[in-house]
Amino acid sequence: MKMHLDEKIWLTLSFGIIMIFMFITGYQAFALDMAPPSNKEIIDPQKVDQSAPFDQPGVKQIGENEYEVVMTLQVFSFNPGNFEIPAGSTVHFTLTSKDVVHGFEIAGTNVNAMVMPGHIQKITQKFDKPGTYLVLCNEYCGAGHQAMSTTITVK
């Protein structure tokens, strides 16, 4: 196969860049713990209210500056919603859906996770800056999708 030298250089660079990209992605995912939310627990989507921990959704303090938020998503709301946490806290979200597929996004942060019925999703975020954060559903979930939001107030 005939290939010009400049094309060989171009393709070697292309391949090299893809490899460097992969290396950085892998390093961030596995060494710096930045991998995307991938929790593997399951739940009966028709018995969410009866299953722990979702039988008691809410905000629980689990350590100094550390909170666990057990939350259900359903058309078209988040439960619990509109809660407060102190600035500097690390929050572990444990999420599931009671009906269709939802998305859990906190605007202005990198919190972004798919929340599927039957699966328990987990994601963690440290809130340093005080303010009101907009939480919204970013997966189309029905006629009221554009109203599905809540806020987290960091004080």
Partner: protein, 559 residues
């Protein structure tokens, strides 16, 4: 020997006298439906853009998500599928010496099935019984007719795949030892991808139907979603490969140059066919239930698709520069002045290629683990596919239409329509830059996709997105002007332009081109390799979803 001769004769006659009437009508029908879909889908797009930016309140009988479902289906499925099939059937007819009568019949049956399927899909959408988007993720359940319509569309496309395979196989039988002409080779790659990509989504839809009817109580949502994306992303690359075929084969001829290395072109096609189906997984990077290691492997599988695209980038600009220099172009970049900027058949696909540089880079970013997490399901994604599909692919299709439509209609491209096309191309370009640019930016800020106008109760963050959404509406308005001009041009070239012969532009190879090795023709082998790659990618996650499945979900109608 007899057949070989008759074929060459046919071939020559075909090249001399243009496409046969029967083959022309077939492609004309496909292209007509494609541009009708563009008009309808474009109008719905404008309605959406105006609503999303808060400028237009929809009447109570029309729901934003209904409009969005129809917009997606018309442009993502109908426009692209009908254009691709119409274009490649004309290519097969032209390069293989006419379609076989039975193949033509198969393509017509396919046409009918797709139309029937489409009507079955559209009626429930109009009745607001199927506002589920073209991704129709369970456990949202549309009216069963919607899914039955999808089955008909899939069957119709399969018919066209089989027709293409028969025609190519027949040519190979009669031309033993010869390479399939390059456009027919592209067509083979595209139809192989379509054939295999439709299998997972067909399985998905066939499991949904009994569930939507209520015969089965629950469904496995993760399996359904994964099967959808095995198809969904491949479809994206099918349009892309269709556009690429014109970049490699047609554009060099239009600028008066020669084709890039035949071997490397075929290697790019083989690579895209082998690696494509596995790319779908990057749509599930922030899904639960998939191990981090599996997701990382899939980042590699997605990025691998970038490699043949980088080969294409080199090839295209090398052809441009080589051609321009032969015509007297000088300087490091001064040669660009020699390109035929006033010829819409060049300008539209050229801008399409340039758009693919940011589009491809954005694609690489968003198929990567933690970078995806920043933009997943935001307007960024919408911006991305308006850049890829709306510019790279569709502008190439527009560029093709300025010779393909006159070719099948036995008419000519007039200077007036060419000029209109150039104006259309610039309007489209500016419109897309405004719209896709605003979408990317507001997506980075967090504005979600697939959401009608909302301020989330006058939330300050959401209100700060409004200026970008206004920019989006400006772009959308320019684009509808572009749609109207383009549809006018197609109708003019199809029915009203002066009669005459238009050539099917296929560039020749360089005189000193090396002989293409025959292993490129071994499609059986490439399909086996493709299936192995698909197995590597999908066996582990799908088995996991099935073995460790949660209790399933019942159907929901949430709109």
């Amino acid at each position: 020997m007899q057949t070989v001769n008759s074929f060459t004769l046919n071939d020559k006659a075909n090249k001399a006298m243009g496409i046969s009437k029967e083959d022309a009508v077939l492609t004309k029908s496909y292209i007509f439906v494609a541009f009708a879909a563009l008009l309808l889908g474009g109008i719905l797009g404008l309605v959406q853009g105006l609503n999303r930016s808060g400028l237009l309140e929809l009447p109570s009988w029309l729901n934003y998500y209904q409009v969005l479902t129809a917009h997606g289906l018309l442009l993502v499925v109908v426009l692209t599928a009908f254009f691709t099939i119409g274009y490649f059937y004309a290519s097969l007819s032209h390069t293989l010496g006419g379609l076989l009568p039975k193949v033509r019949k198969i393509a017509w049956i396919g046409f009918g099935m797709k139309i029937v399927g489409f009507v079955l899909c559209v009626v429930p959408i109009l009745m607001n019984e199927a506002s589920v988007m073209y991704t129709f993720y369970p456990p949202m359940a549309a009216h069963p007719a919607f899914y039955i319509g999808l089955v008909f569309i899939a069957l119709g496309v399969w018919m066209c795949c089989i027709g293409a395979f028969i025609n190519v196989a027949n040519w190979r039988k009669n031309n033993k030892g010869l390479h399939v002409p390059i456009l027919a080779y592209f067509a083979t790659g595209v139809f192989i991808l379509l054939f295999f990509a439709l299998i997972p989504v067909a399985i998905e839809v066939l499991t949904i139907i009994p569930w939507a009817f209520g015969w089965v109580k629950t469904i496995n949502v993760m399996v359904a979603r994964t099967l959808f994306w095995a198809f969904g992303h491949t479809l994206v690359n099918i349009w892309y490969l269709t556009a690429v075929s014109a970049w490699y084969v047609v554009v060099p001829k239009i600028i008066g140059g020669k084709r890039w290395s035949d071997t490397l072109t075929r290697v790019v096609i083989i690579a895209l066919v082998i690696m494509n189906i596995t790319g779908g997984f990057h749509h599930q990077i922030i899904d639960p239930g998939i191990a981090e290691a599996v997701k990382f492997m899939h980042v590699f599988m997605s990025l691998a698709i970038g490699f043949p695209s980088l080969m294409t980038a080199f090839a295209m600009f090398a052809v441009f520069e080589r051609t321009a220099r032969k015509q007297g172009g000088k300087g490091l970049i001064g040669w660009y002045k020699k390109m035929p900027w006033g010829d819409v058949r060049f300008l539209a696909p050229f801008i399409a290629m340039v758009a693919f540089i940011p589009a491809g880079a954005g694609g690489i970013a968003q198929s990567t683990n933690q970078l995806d997490q920043v933009v997943h399901n935001t307007m960024w994604i919408v911006g991305h596919f308006h850049l890829t599909l709306g510019m790279s692919v569709v502008m190439t299709f527009f560029g093709i239409s300025y010779w393909l439509v006159p070719y099948i209609s036995k008419r000519v491209l007039t200077p007036q329509i060419n000029k209109l096309g150039v104006i259309q191309t610039w309007i489209w370009t500016v419109g897309m830059i405004f719209m896709a640019g605003a979408m990317h930016w507001v997506g980075l800020l967090g504005s979600p996709r697939r959401t009608s106008y909302t301020t989330y109760g006058d939330n300050a963050t959401a209100l700060s997105w409004d200026p970008y959404l206004m920019c989006l509406a400006v772009g959308g308005t320019l684009l509808i002007i572009g749609v109207i001009l383009q549809v006018y041009a197609v109708i003019n070239m199809m029915f009203f332009a002066p009669k005459g012969e238009t050539v099917f532009p296929i560039a020749e190879e360089e005189e000193d081109a090396a002989k293409t090795p025959y292993w490129t023709e071994r499609w059986g082998l490439w399909i086996v390799v493709m299936l192995l790659v698909v197995a590597m990618a999908y066996v582990i996650p799908i088995t996991e979803f099935i073995v460790n499945a949660p209790p399933g979900s019942p159907p929901f109608k949430t709109w």
